[in-house]
Structure formats: structure tokens, C-alpha cells
Amino acid sequence: MATNDVVVETRKLTKVYRDFWGRQKKVALRALNLQINRGEIFGLLGPNGSGKTTTIKLLLGLLFPTEGDALVFGQPSAEVKKNERIGYLPEESYLYRFLNAEETLDFYGRLFKLDANVRRQRAQSLIDIVGLSADKKRVLKEYSKGMRQRIGLAQALINDPELVILDEPTSGLDPLGTRWMKDLIVELREKGKTIIMCSHRLEDVQDICDRVAILYEGELQELNSVKVLLEDVDKLELQASGVQINEDLRRDLDEVIRRHGGKIERVGHPTTSLETLFLRIVAQSKAHPGRRYLPSVDGNKPGDEARPGSASAKIEEHVKRA
């Protein structure tokens, strides 16, 4: 039985797709047991056809289980009343393209029977949050994919839901949008909401999920917190600053590690993620507009331009000084 802290529970949840004659086509999900707690960000991972979206559709009542139970807030997933506490962002933003942003949110607000004033206020505030204030009068068919994803998220939040189900939330978003979406998801968790998301982008899941379930061929392969799953307890990582890598350092470190029964595998400079680099460059570009990249003038290959002593490094140095 689901307790108050368990928002979603599946018990031996199985889904078999059949053809018109009832013959089995595919077992999409096999005896899935899950418990998702209040206030966590839960990630569903797996390759295509692993059963992530099927799980979400079963939880939402879009599909009916072949066997087992899917309970949301302690109610069967087919129960419509539970939807009052759920917000859902589909993988593609399947909204009505002939409506504009305001009309879209107004329509979905009406489905929740929200009072006209509340509807208007929430719609306005959500439009502001998702950054579509300037485009709120444009019909959705004129929106880019990222914009549709944003308005899709707004419609998922129109009822101020306790449980938010996001199917590929960063799909179609640029890195800035992706960061914004991830920040928003974390913010939602901080407000006490439970979030279930499935994504192909592992770095997104790694960044924000508290726990993940990894599915393969419809079966649950792994379920744990991200930290526990990613921690490699057989290896040690040491970060230090203020020292240069040289032979003396390498020798001293090797000696210490050997004394403790280990072996150095690699000593080097840590690298940042491409996302962090991209965000930093964009932030700097906003602060200081203008071209930053200058092509090589001395025959250096692309990628060599910032090497110390190269012509472009000299120019960059000159620019910085200027």
C-alpha cells in the first residue's frame, strides 16, 4: 500500500502490446516494481524501446496495464481524479497549434476548472517564467521547437501540480534552454514537488536526478540514487591547486600511493564539461559583445590559435590589454 510519502508505486507492472487478433507483439514492460517518493527527482533511463515512455503512459492512464498495478497518489492510474494533482509534459509538445500561448494556458486552465482570475494570473506568471511574454499572442504553429517545449512546460504547471511528469524535457532545447529547464526542475523540487523524468541525455539526468531507474528491454536493470550508482569505490580522485605537474610531483605521489597499496593511473589537469564552457562563453559574450574568435595568421591549425606563443594568442593578449 502506498504511504503518504510514496507518490507513485508500481507493482509487477507489465504491458504487452498485442495486435488486433490479440496475438502478442511485444512485451514493453515486464513486472516493474517502483516506488517514487515525495519531493524527489526520479529519472527513467534506457535506450529506445526500453519501456520508459510506456511506464509514463501507464502511470498517466494513457495505456492500460496488462498485469500488475500502477498507483499514483494511492489511486489506480485509470482514475481521472488523480490528474488534478499531476502535470504532464509530453516528449513532443503536442499542443493545439492554432492557439496562442495565452489561449493554450486558458484552455488547459479551464479543464482544471480554475477560476477565471486565477487562470489569468497563472497563465501570465507562467508565460513570464518560461520566457514567452513577447510571443504570447503568436499562434503555436509559428513557435520554434524550443518555444513549444517551454509552453508545454507551462501547461504542465498550470494546475500547480504535486507530481510533474516530464518526458524528454530538454528535447529540442539549446544548451541555454537546457540549463534553464534543469534549473527549473530543481526549483520545482525545492518547492516540494515530485518530478519524474525520462531522458536520453544522460548528463541531464546525472545533473539533477536524485534517483534513477535504468530499464532495458522492458525490465528494470538498476535502481538507486545517482550518487551511489556513479561512485567508483575502487578508484581515488584527488584535486589540488597551486602545483605544476612535473616528474618530482609524479614520483612523490607514486611513492605515497604505492605505500598504501595502490597504483597511479593518470596524473593530469581536470577538464570542464562542454556545457560549462559553452555557458561561460555565452555569458561573457553577453557582457562584452563582439567577435572573440580570430583566425590563425601564421598557418596554425584550427585549435592551435590559443596556444601560448602563437600569433592568435599574441593578438588575444593584445586585445585583452587594450
Binding site: K26, F64, N83, E92, Y94, F98, L99, F107, L111, F112
Partner: protein, 688 residues
């Protein structure tokens, strides 16, 4: 029959007295279908219980189970009763139900077949209740009008923004160019314009309704927009209702707008002939029975070889058959309004077809006798004897009048004074004859397919005489004496129509609705709107059908199915004739054999094994055709344009409410229930 020139009503509207039998038939048929569906559901449930089914039995589930048990018990009882008496259940199975023109009279309750009938009715009722209970509970507790309205608004916006409403602009072509092609006769002007408008508007709206209804939900499922709706607290039936209501509202506005423009189009520059003919809305009181005398059959006149036997024919006296009985068409009225006066005269109108056996006279109609006769003359010979006596008395009185006029002339009275006196005396004589014999005779020239009033230019004079006759017949003392010895009540009035000797060898084609008492005349524009309401009902039927089918089928298939069912509905009469074995020439196999063997349609097949195989095959075919006939809509009854085109009032209660609205409801309700279940238990997401 687009440009048929008279008012033809092949199918009588449903009458109030037919309603109980129609409801009973509807319950039996719809109940049998519901019971069949329940049986399949129970079987499937027993074999494999769905994982999403609740493990505990709610009060609602227990209620449904109880109703199913009661339904099953009633059917078992009916079956036992049938087996016990060794009787077939064919009579109940053949009950044509609400959607047919004339349900047969109910079996008496006290008889055995009446008992089976009641058991089948009760079983059907339980089955319907079992099927509709979850829907009713949802309607009362879960379904919210606000959400339905939201989806309806969305549907309207979708249709408007996808420019569907532009199809209505195609009517402009009709308004601009129809005049070029419409046959023009001054008296047919309004009639033809109404027909053109109807045959333009009806296909336009039916097609639009079918397209909107059939493609809406499948398009949502295909584009997965429906995911964002069903994951909100929306009952799935609210989507069906919302779509239906939204498109119905849009189509209603479209019909309203085009009706207003069409009315202007029809009403502009109406010729005096057309105004007289059909730019009105006559409120007719029809005779209860049309019977015939002298034609060999009381229910039919003579056949003139026309396949379409809407009218029967009576012949004038035959020159070469002087002894042949006189042929009459007799309209019998059981009751008529009371209290006719100088300001409220009874006018009888008629529209007959003329079938000429000889060329006749150029530009002359057929001289016809109309006899308005006290209903107590139950036999034609009785009437003829009284009429002859009356004629003798009239002749004698007229002789006396002539002599008296001569005497006055000799006494020096002026010619004008004598004429006035004579006219008054003649009038008094006619009154006294009416009072004495209860008969009033008028002779009129009948023109082919024209609405005429008895008396023509003298209609007021004739009306006064008829008022006198009718007031006399409705006198309470007279009414009392109308009760016959066998307890039955004779008709109040018979109108006997026969071809006069002056038009010997000519024939008149008559139908029940060809002669009537004009009770009132109402404005044309109101009748036009009522006529459009019939088309509106048909549009709603098509929309409901398409939406219901689209809850399970893909858009194209739902659209084709809706068109097919509706299209078949246009031929429902013929289909039912074949299904019930009353069609001319037999069933499909039999008629094929007849065509190939060049056998006449009316001849009986020889008694042989081959004939048995042929009729047996047809019987199997008819069984399936009878089932099919149950699900096709009777769309003909929604076509009210003939009333408007010919200037006959459409009754609010009897035609619009009972014959259109109630029938529409009776047809759409089962589809709504079906749509409820199909939508509720449908997986709206695609696999993966």
C-alpha cells in the same frame, strides 16, 4: 423528385398514439443489442479479467450485476414461455421499432404473445439500464459542463481557424447563379427556390458535419494532442460531448446565417401566382381515413400503371360501361374544430393529379363533384339514395321558386328585386336541404397539380354552407346520435369526391393528404425556419454518428462509415421492404432469377425444390438485412422542405418535436452509449 410539383408525403409523421408502441419497440431492439453486448462483455470478463479492473465491487458494479441478472432472468422467462407454448418469437423480433413509419398495434396484454412481448420489453429495459447506469452515474457525478464547454470552444476555434467556415461561402454560387438553371413557371417560383436552397444547403451541411465529426478525435489521437487532455481531470466522454457540442454550435450558427440569407433570396420578388400557391404556411386538418368506393378495393383506387403508387385513381363515368358503379374517393373526418362563423369559415383545399384517358378539352380541367356528407351515412348506396332524394326536393323547390318569380314579375316587380329575392330563397332552400339531409354538394374544375380551394372564387359562399353543415353535425345532440349500435362512433364528416359526367373518361389521382380543411394560415418565413430545423436535425444526426464512430475508428474509416449509414438511411424504406419481404418481385435471389428468366414480378414462382432454395436463400439474406435495417437512420423524416415548398405548415409538436426530435434522440442515444464505452476503454496512446 427535386422538381416534383405537389406536396408528397410518402411517410406519415409519427403520431402521438403511436408513441407507446414505438417506445416499446425501441426498448426491445435497443435492449436486445445491449443484452448481446453485455453477454459478450461478461464472457470476455470471465475468460480474462482486465488488470485495470477494480478488485472490489463498488455499489455501481453491484447495481449493474443485479440489472444484468434481472435482464437474463427476463429473457430466460420469455424463452421458457415461448418453448412452453411451442411458439416462435418472430413477432417480437419483427417489431419495426421507433424508426419505422408505422409500428404495428401492440399485442393485447392478456394474450400469450402479449406476455412474451412484455417480458422482452422488461428484459430490454434491464439491459438498457445496465448499460447506461455507469454513463448516468458519470453524467451526474463526474462530467462537468464547464469542461465540456471548454472543449466545445476549442472545437469551434479549431474549425474557424482552419477556415472550415469558408465552405459556407460556396452558397454564394447558388445565390448568384441558381436562377439560370431553375425551371421557371410563375406559380412554381417559391416552390423551386425552396427546393434549390434545400438541395444546396443540406449536402453542404451534411458533408461538413461528417468531416468535422469524423476527423476531430482521430486527428487528436494521431497528433497526440489528446494526451494533454486526458492527463487532465477530464472524463473521456467529456471530449466526445465537447466535440459534438462545439461542432453542433458552429453548424447551428452557419445554418442560421445561411437561413437568413436564403430567406431573403426566396422571398424577393414573389409573383402573385407563387404567393397564392405556396408563399404561405397552411395549417391543414387531414381526414383520418381515405377510402374508396366502386374501385373494387376500399383501400385503393385504380392503378394507372405508375410504379410509384403514392396516389390512387378514381375514374369518371365510362361511356362504354354505363352500368359500372360510380367511383368515389372518400375522406372521413372523425372530428373537426367547432364553432365556425362568418369570420371563421371552413375552407377545404385540394391538390389532385389528373390522368387522362382521352384528350379532353384544351385548357380545361376535370369537372369534379365534392359532396360533404354527414358521417352517419355509412354506405355509399345510403348516401346516394339520400342525395337523389335531396336533388328531387331541390328540383321541386326550384320549380316552385321559378313559378313564384314569374308571378312576382307579372305583378310588376323589378328584375333586380326578383333576382335578389330569388337568390335569398335559393340560399334558404340550400340551408334547409343541408339541415334536412346533412349533405352539401359543390362542383369544381380540378386543375392538374394545383392547390385549389373548394368553391374557387365563391369560396366564402361555399364556406358559409359548410359552416352550417359542420355546426349542425357538431351539435351535441347530433354527436350523441353518432354512436352506433355496435358501440363504435361513426365519422363526423365524409368528403366524397367523384369525377363528374362532364369529364367522363378522365381520372383523378388522390392521396390522403391531397384534401384537407384549412384551419389557419401562418407566415411563410416561420415555416421556412421550421423546415430548416428539420435539416438541422439531420445535420446533428450525421455529426453524432460521425463523432461516435470516430471514438474507435480512424478518421477516414469513420467518415466513410457515417456516410454509408446515412446514405443507406435515404433508402431505408426500400431496405425495410426487402427485409420484411414486402418488396415487389421478391428478395435479391428471387428477383435475380426473375430478371434472368424474364418472369413477371407479380407472378408466383412454381412450386419446386429450386423455388424453395431461392426463397430460403432470400430468407437468410432478409434476416441479416433486418439486423442491418435496425442500425440505419430513417433520415427521410428530417426532410421537411416539401412542406415549405408547397406552403404547408410544419407542426411544432407533431412534426418537429415528436417526429424529428424524439426520433433523433432515440437514434443517437444508443450511439452515445457506444461512444462512451469505446472512448472510456480505449488506449489513446500509441504503442511505444
Amino acid at each position: 423528385m427535386v422538381f416534383a410539383t405537389t406536396f408528397v408525403l410518402e411517410q406519415e409523421p409519427l403520431q402521438w398514439w403511436e408513441l407507446p408502441a414505438a417506445i416499446k419497440g425501441w426498448v426491445q431492439i435497443a435492449g436486445a443489442v445491449a443484452a448481446f453486448a453485455l453477454a459478450i462483455f461478461c464472457l470476455a470478463y470471465a475468460i480474462r479479467r482486465p488488470a485495470y479492473a477494480s478488485k472490489t465491487w463498488s455499489r455501481q458494479t453491484r447495481g449493474v450485476a443485479l440489472l444484468i441478472a434481472l435482464c437474463g432472468a427476463s429473457y430466460v422467462l420469455a424463452l421458457l414461455a415461448v418453448i412452453g407454448r411451442g411458439m416462435g418469437i418472430g413477432s417480437a423480433a419483427r417489431n419495426p421499432g421507433l424508426l419505422q413509419a408505422q409500428p404495428p398495434p401492440p399485442e393485447p396484454v392478456g394474450t400469450f404473445s402479449g406476455l412474451v412481448d412484455i417480458l422482452l420489453f422488461v428484459a430490454g429495459l434491464f439491459a438498457i439500464l445496465a448499460v447506461t447506469l455507469p454513463l448516468l452515474v458519470d453524467l451526474c457525478t463526474r462530467i462537468r459542463f464547464g469542461r465540456v464547454l471548454a472543449i466545445a470552444r476549442l472545437s469551434v476555434k479549431e474549425a474557424v481557424r482552419s477556415r472550415v467556415v469558408w465552405v459556407f461561402a460556396s452558397m454564394a454560387i447558388i445565390f448568384l447563379f441558381a436562377d439560370w438553371f431553375v425551371p421557371y413557371k410563375p406559380e412554381d417560383q417559391v416552390r423551386n427556390y425552396v427546393r434549390v436552397i434545400y438541395w444546396s444547403l443540406a449536402p453542404l451541411f451534411l458533408l461538413t458535419a461528417s468531416l468535422l465529426g469524423a476527423f476531430s478525435i482521430p486527428a487528436d489521437v494521431k497528433s497526440q494532442s489528446i494526451h494533454t487532455i486526458v492527463t487532465k481531470p477530464v472524463e473521456r466522454f467529456e471530449i466526445v460531448l465537447g466535440r459534438f457540442c462545439g461542432y453542433a454550435a458552429l453548424l447551428t450558427v452557419g445554418i442560421g446565417f445561411l437561413t437568413a440569407i436564403s430567406l431573403l433570396y426566396v422571398a424577393r420578388g414573389v409573383t402573385p401566382q407563387a404567393a397564392k400557391e405556396s408563399f404561405t404556411a397552411r395549417v391543414p386538418i387531414y381526414g383520418d381515413v381515405l377510402s374508396f368506393s366502386g374501385t373494387g378495393r376500399t383501400d385503393k383506387g385504380e392503378s394507372v400503371g405508375r410504379e410509384w403508387d403514392y396516389r390512387s385513381y378514381i375514374s369518371g363515368p365510362r361511356v362504354n360501361m354505363p352500368q359500372a358503379p360510380r367511383q368515389y374517393a372518400i375522406w372521413s373526418f372523425a372530428s373537426l374544430p367547432v364553432g365556425f362563423s362568418e369570420t371563421r369559415l371552413p375552407y377545404f383545399e385540394f391538390t389532385f393529379d389528373i390522368f387522362r384517358l382521352t384528350k379532353g378539352q384544351e385548357n380545361r380541367g376535370v369537372i369534379t363533384n365534392f359532396s360533404f356528407v354527414d358521417g352517419r351515412y355509412q354506405q355509399v348506396p345510403q348516401f346516394q339514395a339520400a342525395r337523389d332524394k335531396m336533388r328531387d326536393e331541390r328540383a321541386r323547390a326550384q320549380d316552385a321558386l321559378a313559378k313564384a318569380a314569374d308571378a312576382k314579375s307579372k305583378q310588376g316587380s323589378s328584375t333586380a328585386a326578383i333576382q335578389t329575392w330569388r337568390s335569398e330563397q335559393q340560399d334558404a332552400l340550400e340551408d334547409s336541404l343541408i339541415d334536412k339531409f346533412g349533405i352539401y354538394e359543390v362542383t369544381a374544375e380540378v386543375l392538374d397539380y394545383h392547390t385549389q380551394v373548394v368553391g374557387g372564387d365563391d369560396k366564402d359562399k361555399v364556406g358559409r354552407k359548410l359552416a352550417r353543415l359542420l355546426n349542425m353535425l357538431q351539435d351535441p345532440a347530433q354527436v350523441k346520435s353518432r354512436t352506433r349500435e355496435d358501440g363504435a362512433t361513426s365519422f363526423l364528416l365524409n368528403v366524397m369526391v367523384s369525377v363528374d359526367r362532364q369529364s367522363a373518361e378522365q381520372m383523378l389521382g388522390v392521396a390522403k393528404r391531397d384534401l384537407y380543411l384549412l384551419a389557419a394560415e401562418r407566415p411563410f418565413w416561420l415555416n421556412f425556419i421550421k423546415g430548416v430545423m428539420g435539416m438541422w436535425f439531420a445535420t446533428l444526426l450525421m455529426l453524432g454518428l460521425a463523432v461516435a464512430l470516430s471514438t474507435y475508428l480512424s478518421g477516414v474509416i469513420a467518415w466513410l462509415c457515417a456516410l454509408f449509414l446515412f446514405g443507406m438511411g435515404l433508402f431505408s424504406d426500400s431496405i425495410r421492404q426487402i427485409a420484411e419481404g414486402t418488396s415487389y418481385g421478391g428478395g435479391v435471389v428471387e428477383s435475380t432469377v426473375r430478371i434472368l428468366g424474364k418472369l413477371p414480378g407479380g407472378a408466383r414462382l412454381e412450386n419446386s425444390p429450386a423455388a424453395s432454395v431461392i426463397t430460403g436463400s432470400d430468407e437468410v439474406f432478409r434476416f441479416f438485412l433486418r439486423l442491418f435495417a435496425r442500425i440505419i437512420p430513417d433520415v427521410g423524416r428530417f426532410d421537411l422542405h416539401a412542406y415549405v415548398a408547397n406552403g404547408y405548415d410544419i407542426s411544432w409538436m407533431q412534426v418537429l418535436f415528436l417526429d424529428n426530435f424524439v426520433v433523433l434522440l432515440g437514434y443517437l442515444l444508443p450511439w452515445a452509449v457506444l461512444a462512451y464505452y469505446l472512448m472510456k476503454y480505449r488506449e489513446v496512446a500509441n504503442p511505444m
